[in-house]
Structure formats: C-alpha cells, structure tokens
Symmetry: C2
C-alpha cells in the first residue's frame, strides 16, 4: 500500500482536505496509484499526515463522489477504473485564434449614435441583487422556467410600461427574450412567412437585414417630418409596417398623434394587417411629457410592441420584451410557446428586483438627467454652426441630426471631421434604398452624445466648427 506522503501546506488558502483530494486524484490520473490498488484507511492516513480524521474523510468523500475511488464495505477504499472519467486539461489561456475584430480606428472624439453611458451603470446594486438571489433561491432558480419569461418579471415590466409609456397590456401578452433580434425571429414563427413588411426609409439597418434574412418580402416607405407616409404605405402592398414612432432611428422624428391615428386606421382596414412598434429609446425625452406609445391607442389588436433594456440599462444584459395583441397571442400559444425562454432565470430575477425595489426608477432619472445635460451642452455648442446647418431630431433619444447647406457633401464632412480626430456618422448609411428613385438626400450627419461628457462635446464641436463654417 502506498504510504501517501503528502506535503501539506497548512498556510495555504486551499483547505487541507482539498490538498489531500488533489494529491490523490493526481496520482490516480498519472497512474502512480493504479486501478484496484487499496488506499490507506482514513484512520491510518490521518495519523500519518497528522491531520484530523474528518479531514481525510472529506477528501475521500470528494474522491468517491467524483468516481476516482470506490468503497467496499469492510474492506476499504480502492482506486477505480478511471478510463471513463473526465480528465480535462485546461485550455491554453492564450487564445488559439487571432482576434477577428477589425481593428477599429480609435478617434479622440466619437459621436456614435449607438452609445450608452456605462459609467453610470449601478454595478454595486447589480452585484448585490445577484448575490441576494443566488443566496435565497436554490434549485428552483436553475430549473427550466416559463417560456414567456418569469411571471414576476413580466408583471413588473407591464406595470412600468403602463406608467411610463401608456402601454395597455396584461403580463400574459408579454414575451421576454434575449434581444430584439431574437424576438423578431420568434415573431416570424408566429406570423408565418407570407408577408410584405414595410420599413421607414432611412431606418435601422439591423431590422432591415433581419427581415430580409427571415425571408420576408421587404419594402421601404418614405418619411416626412411626421414619420412614415401612410399614403405611400397604402400603395406599397405591405401588410406589416415596422415603425419607431417615439423617436425614429435615425431621423429622430416623433410621430404626432394624428399620424399615429392614420397608421392605426390603415392597419384596421384589412384583416391581417399589423404594426410593429419598436420603442427602442423612448425613455429619454428632454422636453414636455412623453407621448404614450402607439400601442396605447390601439383598440383593435393591431400593434406588436417591442422594447428593450439595452438602452435604458446596458446592452450586454440581453433582455427585451414583446407584447402581442390578442389574435397573435392565440397563435403563439398554439404554435410557438413550446420554445424555451432565452433568458436565464437568475438574470430575470435580478431585473425584476431592480425594477421592483425602485433602482430602475432612480437609474432612469439619473441617466435622463445625464443625457439631458449632454444634449443641452451640445445644442448650445452648435449655435456657431447655425449658418451652415440646421438641427433636427433633438429633445429626445441620445442623438440628433445636422443638415448641411455649406456646399460640402456628406463624405467631405466626414473626412474633414476625421482629419481633426472627430468621428461623425453620415445619414446615407441608413438609407436602404441607396438613394435610388428619389432625390439625393441633403448632406446630413448624426451626432450621438450618450457616451461623451460635456467637456469632450464642447471640444469636438469647436474642432468641427473650424472645419465646417466657411468664412
């Protein structure tokens, strides 16, 4: 019998039983202890190593439970046949593959319209909630949950949407999912294939590409300063309209009530017509009261409402929600409810408590104040540019637009800004028609301010001013 002289380190942070366990496991793995070989009794080994017997027992129990040793009553412990056991070598921490991301050029100033300020993310709260939840709950937390999302979370989101957005819904109508892309894919299984979807032009290209990918017929409908032109929609042959009435991306248009009503009327005229309302950043409005969601005016079950916590909390938490009108809910129950939830229960519980315990309200007011101050600074700084461009899309969201009439093209504007270290974004990137069949758009750039502090905004605009304002 092997004497098992293990060099124990009493000062180590690794408990003694764990050191014994690792030593023996190691010996078994490298065949220093062979299959069938008998181990010393717990009493003998504890004496030999001068540790308590229960320490050795703990180590043996661990080895037993993982199948490295076997116990035979009245005979003792024996090394098991370990061919069948998992012995995983750690992966090399060096990534075996080169990072594929294109090296994005770093600009000193970046007016990305997709930014989110993550400095104000309530890390400590999130950690605390996460810890509390993993302490309180046990196995229920890791059992497969409700495929629509946990009832408690849906209840909390519904209550928020009702108060903050005038959304009219019951938690039964809501599906929580891992991001808008996923929810739109799921919606595809409910609606089925044969649809023609009309998007605003210009629009959020991610949605456009997604609908194309899901094999829908996709068309675009022009916009005026009130949003999607309903006459054009009427003639497009589309039966589904995808709109962002609260703050259209990228144009920043807020759809007035009258246009909303025309859109609802269009949907109501033919059975099977639907409106998808993407309410992606409606949390942020800096002037006047927020306009309730289109969904709140819908009395005929025509609006599919989609919202996300990517903008209001953080992009990487991957939680969005979709509210189905009754006719589609019925199809969902019949056809697609069997598909499992895409959000882990732990994450759902964290979010539920974040909302219920008042942290979400605080966080919204804080980021809103932050973005408002950046918005106001930007508007102020832009004054010297007012002779060469006009502003639109302000007072909501986290970006605005500048329409130039200083003779420069969009490419020129972007190049000149780049030369002084400022990244700005051209509107034509969002034009899915590619400028065809319509007048070339006025040179327009987007300025996002979510991820720039006041000082940087001021500095960057001063740099742009020198380039854009022709003497």
């Amino acid at each position: 019998m092997n004497e098992l002289t293990i060099n124990l380190n009493v000062k180590s942070r690794t408990p003694l039983y764990e050191q014994i366990y690792s030593y023996i496991k190691n010996d078994i793995q490298k065949s220093a202890l062979k299959s069938g070989e008998r181990l010393p009794s717990t009493r003998a080994l504890s004496k030999h190593l001068d540790v308590s017997r229960s320490t050795v027992e703990l180590a043996y129990e661990q080895l037993l439970s993982e199948g490295y040793i076997e116990s035979e009553p009245y005979k003792g412990f024996f090394v098991a046949e370990i061919d069948e056991l998992y012995q995983l070598k750690p992966a090399s921490r060096e990534l075996s593959f080169p990072e594929q991301k294109k090296k994005e050029e770093k600009y000193p100033y970046d007016f990305s319209p997709n930014g989110v300020d993550l400095k104000s993310f309530p890390y400590n709260t999130w950690r605390k909630l996460s810890k509390d939840i993993l302490t309180d709950d046990k196995s229920e937390l890791f059992r497969l949950g409700d495929s629509q999302g946990e009832p408690g979370l849906r209840n909390a989101i519904c209550s928020y949407l009702h108060q903050a957005r005038g959304v009219n819904c019951r938690p039964e109508q809501m599906i929580v999912g891992a991001g808008n892309d996923y929810l739109l894919m799921l919606l595809g299984t409910i609606l089925g294939q044969k649809h023609r979807i009309a998007l605003e032009n210009p629009t959020y290209k991610q949605s456009y590409r997604l609908f194309k990918n899901l094999s829908y017929e996709v068309c675009t409908v022009g916009m005026d300063h009130r949003g999607m032109i309903v006459d054009e929609l009427e003639h497009s042959g589309a039966d589904i309209a995808f709109v962002m009435p609260s703050h259209q991306y990228p144009l920043g248009v807020v759809m007035p009530l009258k246009r909303r009503m025309s859109l609802l009327k269009w949907a109501g005229e033919v059975p099977g017509r639907y409106i998808i309302e993407d309410d992606y950043d409606s949390e942020f409005r800096y002037k006047g009261k927020p306009i309730p969601a289109l969904q709140g005016y819908d009395v005929n079950g025509k609006v599919i409402y989609i919202g996300t916590f990517s903008k209001s909390i953080a992009p990487a938490i991957r939680m969005s929600y979709m509210i189905l009108p009754e006719p589609l809910l019925e199809i969902y129950y019949r056809k697609s409810r069997f598909m499992n939830s895409t959000v882990s229960k732990v994450d759902q519980m964290i979010l539920q408590h974040f909302i219920e315990d008042g942290y979400f309200e605080r966080h919204l007011n804080k980021t809103r104040a932050l973005y408002k101050s950046r918005h106001d600074t930007l508007m102020n700084c832009l004054k010297p540019l007012q002779d060469c461009c006009s502003i639109s899309g302000e007072n909501a969201g986290v970006h605005l637009l500048l329409h130039f009439h200083n003779g420069m093209t969009e490419e020129e504007l972007i190049e000149k800004a780049k030369a002084v270290g400022v990244k700005i974004y051209g509107l034509s990137d969002y034009d899915v028609r590619g400028g065809e069949g319509q007048d070339k758009l006025q040179p327009t750039i987007l300025l996002g301010y979510a991820n720039m502090n006041e000082q940087k905004i001021a500095e960057a605009i001063r740099l742009l001013e020198k380039e854009f304002v022709t003497a």
Copy 2:
C-alpha cells in the same frame, strides 16, 4: 422656506443621507415641496437635523443627479419641474394574472426522461464566480459583446469538446446561443428556406415542431438498432439529416461507427447536403469509452454540431453552442453575424471560469457517478420484470426503455402505473408519424432516472412489478 423636520432614525439600516433623500423626494413627488421652492442650505439643514454637513450634501447630490432639484450658483438649491421625471409606483406584488400553467398532477414517483438532478448543482461555486466577476470587471462587462460569444468562453468550450467528445473545431467556428431552439432558428437564417429535413422517427418532438415552424419541409426516416436507416434517408429526398448519434432520443440507440460512416458518405455525395448532430446528453455514459462525436469523423465540412449545458449543468442557465463547418461559416459571416449574441456577458464569463477552473470536470464526474449509481440500481431492480419486458437504451444518458410483451397496451401500462402513483412515459408520444404506414410499435415505456434517488427507484419499480408481472 420649508424647515424640513425629518424624523431620522439613527438605528435604521438605511443610511442617514438616504433617509433625507427619500424624505425630500417624497415631499417633492406629493407637491409638499413645490417646483421652484428653495431648499435650506446644506449647512442650515445639517444644523437643524444635527447631522454632518457631508450627509446632507450626499442627499442633495443624489437628488440633483436624479433631477429632483436643481442648483443655481450662489443662490442655492431649488425644487425642479418634475413633470418629466419617472415616478414609478411599484407593481402590486400580487400577480394580476392567474398562473396559466395547467396544474400538473403530482405523482409520488416520476420517471421523467427529461430530468436533471439539481440537488448536485454547485450553487456556492456559481455564486462565488458570479460575485468575483461582477467585482473584477466593470463597464466592459455590460458593453455589447461578440455576436458569436466571448472568445474566451468559445476557447474553453472547444478545448472541452476536443478532449471529451473528439470534436474537431476552432473557436471561430463556434456560436454560443441561448438554447438549442434559438441556435436552430439562427441556423435557419444561414441555410435559407428551401430544404427538406429528415428526422429520425421516433424523435425529440421539440426539434420536429421547430423545423415545421421555421417552414421547412420535414420528413421522417425509420430507425433500426443502429440508428437512422441511411437507405431510407437516401430515398426521402431530404438534403439535411437531423440525428442524435451518441444516444438517440427517445430510443437510446448509440450509432455504431459503420453507420456513422454511411451517414457521412450520404452527406458527401451531393453538394449542399448536411447533417445536424444534436449531442444533447453525451456526457453520460456508464460503460466503455465514449464514442467520439460524428463531427470528429467529418473531413468534408458536412456536420453541424449542436450541444448544450442544459443537461450537464442546469436547464435554466440557457447556454448552448453550435459548430459550423467552413462552408456555412462563410455564409454566417456574410449573412447572419450582424445579429447580436443572446447570452449576457456575465453568464458567459461565469461559465468560462467554471470550465477553466476545473469545476466543470468535477461536476461532470460527480453527476456521472450519481446517474451511474441510479442507472445501476434501476437495472438491478428491473430483473424481476425480465419475463414481461426487454430493456434497451441502457448504459448511457439518463433514461432507458422497456419493451413489453405481457399483452398490455401502452395506455394500459401507463394507467396501471398511474393507479399506484408512478408516472411513466409512453414511446408513442415521440412517434411523429402517428403510427401510420408502419406496424404498430411494440408497447414501450421510457424510464428516466436523473431525478429519482436509489430508494425511490426501488420503491417505484416494486410497485410496477406488482402491476405488470402477470402471475
């Protein structure tokens, strides 16, 4: 000016500044403090309340940052216009909707073939990792991540799959997603619509329904004791075969090497043919060495490999992975990589460390030992039934099958078991052909043992014995 006599509770767990903040916020919300009204200076209020000035300053800062008050230089603090602020009433914790789940009948003994033992889930490890990760990392953790999944996690999974399953892949080929359903939906956007998918019959109905939902043509191909019959597949007109070679669900067949080769040959014969390998519970084998995944033998880029942590860790963590062969990877990059990841970064980091730090190896060996012991107990207990049924699908996974020849129909078997409090599952539930065009299947039941301890298994089988063994 309001004197703000706040009843502070020094013994409360709520910090003093928070009590002051809440009191003032409350007064503002209920208009006891009106818009434009001036607040006492921090000095005056700290004197009045007999607290330190910094306590009051903290409270004012909080109110400022959330937009409840405004500061005017040299003048002081004033109540803001709060019409625009979020004031969310908590949702009633009482759910406003009745639980919709059908009340499932509780059986004293349930041989569910979909069980997972959650008692052995390493809660403490999971909590510790979660805490560490939320402490270490900061904003990067909440920024949008790689749409394929974090490179570190993909590296760790690849290394595991290579060692444990003989899977041959680079991390670039892997996509991490929130569950198999999602990954199959994503695969749909890569493959496009026009395919005919062949599934084994009987099969896992979830996949069958999903493919139907995604508007594929779906057909079934019969099985013999080696798995999907390749001749039948050849004549089915299918170009995609969905198989579970490691342990077919529900039949438990392990596909031998020769059949695997025939299947790969079938795929290689015509460009555009693919095999989807669902390796859902291959972690658990109790006899002999595990057979490497079909993917490991594929030299022509024909196998799409899908695996999950639902069985090996827990269903509710919602993490699966898909490995694309090169030709499809190229399409993914071009067509579908723009879609955002469906798994939160925090969860990905927890899993990465769980694998890298050796916890996954331990957990696998532990659950494997646990399931093996339950498997062995079940096999032992079944001996008295050997005259009325034969066993198949044993030695792997977490369920086995009993084929009866005691004259009872499947319905009768299930009813008799129910009468003594034992829930068993009929094979015909998995027959998507509905028994048409083939001989009626032999009465067969599934017994899952993942979620039953040895004692319960013994008790339940004794009950069944009395019912099924005809004297």
